[in-house]
Subunit: 254 residues, 2 copies
Amino acid sequence: MGTTQLENVPEPKYWHLKTVLVDALDSEFEVGEILPNERDLAARFGVARATLRQALEQLELEGRLQRRRGVGTTVAPPRMGVSVGPSSGSWPGATGDAWRTVGCVEAAAPAAVADVLGTDADEAVHTVRRVRSMGGQSVATELLYVPRASVPGLPGDLTPADHAPAVLRELHAVELDGDDRAVELGSARAEDAKQLDRLPGAAVLVVTTRYFSGGRVAAVAVATYRADTCRLTFGDSGAMEITHHGQERHAAAS
Amino acid sequence: MGTTQLENVPEPKYWHLKTVLVDALDSEFEVGEILPNERDLAARFGVARATLRQALEQLELEGRLQRRRGVGTTVAPPRMGVSVGPSSGSWPGATGDAWRTVGCVEAAAPAAVADVLGTDADEAVHTVRRVRSMGGQSVATELLYVPRASVPGLPGDLTPADHAPAVLRELHAVELDGDDRAVELGSARAEDAKQLDRLPGAAVLVVTTRYFSGGRVAAVAVATYRADTCRLTFGDSGAMEITHHGQERHAAAS
DNA sequence: CAGTGGTCTAGACCACTCA
DNA sequence: GAGTGGTCTAGACCACTGC
C-alpha cells in the first residue's frame, strides 16, 4: 500500500504540549512573568486541564516554571548553583558555612541512618536541624546526626538553646579524617516541605554525607535540596571556579 | 466552642495512601514481588484510579516501585550506588571505566553546552555517545562533547567505527588539569529514555562534568542517570569505601 | 470575595506484553 | 486476546492568596 506511515508513534499530547510551552517560554516570556491560568491555557490548547497540568508539572520539575497556589504560574529563573562539597576537611558548622542552625533534639535516628552510623536502631543521637538559604530563599534543610559516642565531652545538662552550639563545638574538637557524599532523588516530607516553602511530596535532591573519624562514621548529615531551583555543584580538584551563569538553558534536540 | 480542631489539616488522600503502601511494602512484600493491578488496588482502597496512580508515581520516583506497561507493578530493589567521581585525574574512556561507547557524530552542541565550552553556538563538535550499565541494566547515557580545538591531532578522514576511539585516544594525549561536576534533576529526552528502558519524561539525574586543560574547558560530559534506580556516590577524600547495602530504607518519621 | 492552583472522580480509549 | 499500565476527558470541590 502507499501509506507512508506518517505518524505511527503519536507522541502523547502532554509531551507535545511541553515542547510548545518551552518554545514559548524561551521566546515570548521573561523570567518572573506570570502565565495565563491553567483553565485558560487548557482551553487555548484544546486539552483537558489535567493534560495541561501534566505538562506544567514536568516543566516545574525541570525548573522552568514555578507554581504557587492562590497566586499563579510564573517563569522560573535559571537554577542556582549550590556548592555541596567537598568540605575541604572541615566539620559542619564551621565559621562561615552557609547553614543556619534552627534546633537540636536528642532522639532515635531513622533506621537507614542508624545503619550507616553503626548505632542501635533505638539509640538516641543528637540531631541538629539546619537550614541553608541563598538569594533570600531557603534552598535546603538538613538533619545532622551525631552519636553520643562522637562527642564524649558533651555536658549532660543543656538548655535547648545551648544544645546545638555545644554539639557542634564538641564535634570541631574531633579530628576529621574525610567525608563522603551520595545524591539521590526523594520527595519532601511534610516538615521539610514547610521549611522549603513547597508542598509535601515535592521533588528534592537528598545529599547524604558521611563524616569519618578514627576509621568510623562519626556523623551523618542528610540534606534535602529543592530540586526545582538548585543545581548541586561539586568543586573537585583545584580547578577554576566558574559559576556558569549561562543565558541559555538545556535545550538539547530530541 | 468545644470543638478541639481534630483534623484541621486533612492530608490529601494520595499522601495518606502512600504511607499505607510504604508500610505494606516494608512488611508484606518482597523485592521483585508483583502488586495487584491498579484497578484492583484503587477499588480496594476506595479511591479513583487516578488518585491511586498519584501515590504510585511518587513511590516509583522514590525508587520503591517499578512499573512496566503491559506487565505490572513490582517492588523495586534498593537503589544501586553508582560512583560518579572524582575521576582521579583521568579522561573519560580510560581503560577500565564503566562506560561503553555506542557512537560518535560531529554536530553542533546544544546552546547550554556551547556556552560552557566557549565555542560558537553553531560550531560542530565531536559528540561521543556512551552508555553505562550495572547489574545487567543500563543506568545512564552520556554525551561527551569535544571541540575540535581540543583534539588538534585528529585526522580528518575517519570511518564511523573509528571516530569515537580516535577522539578518545587523542583526548588521552592531552594533559588533564582537573574536573568539575554538577548534579540536577531533569527528565529523559526520547532518545535517552529509550536507552534507559524508560518512558520519555522519566525523572533522571543529570551530571554535567567539565574537563579542564590549559586553563580552559577542554570537554564537557552530560550524563543522565535513572533517578529511580540510582544513588550517585561521590567518593571524595581517601576515606574508606563502604558500599552501604543497608537492609532498611529511608523511613524518617514525618 | 474572586481567582488561583491542588485534589479527586468515573469513566474512556490506547499501547504494550505475554501466553 | 486478555490483562497491564499510560493517556485523556469533563466535570467537581477544596485550600490558599490577595484585593
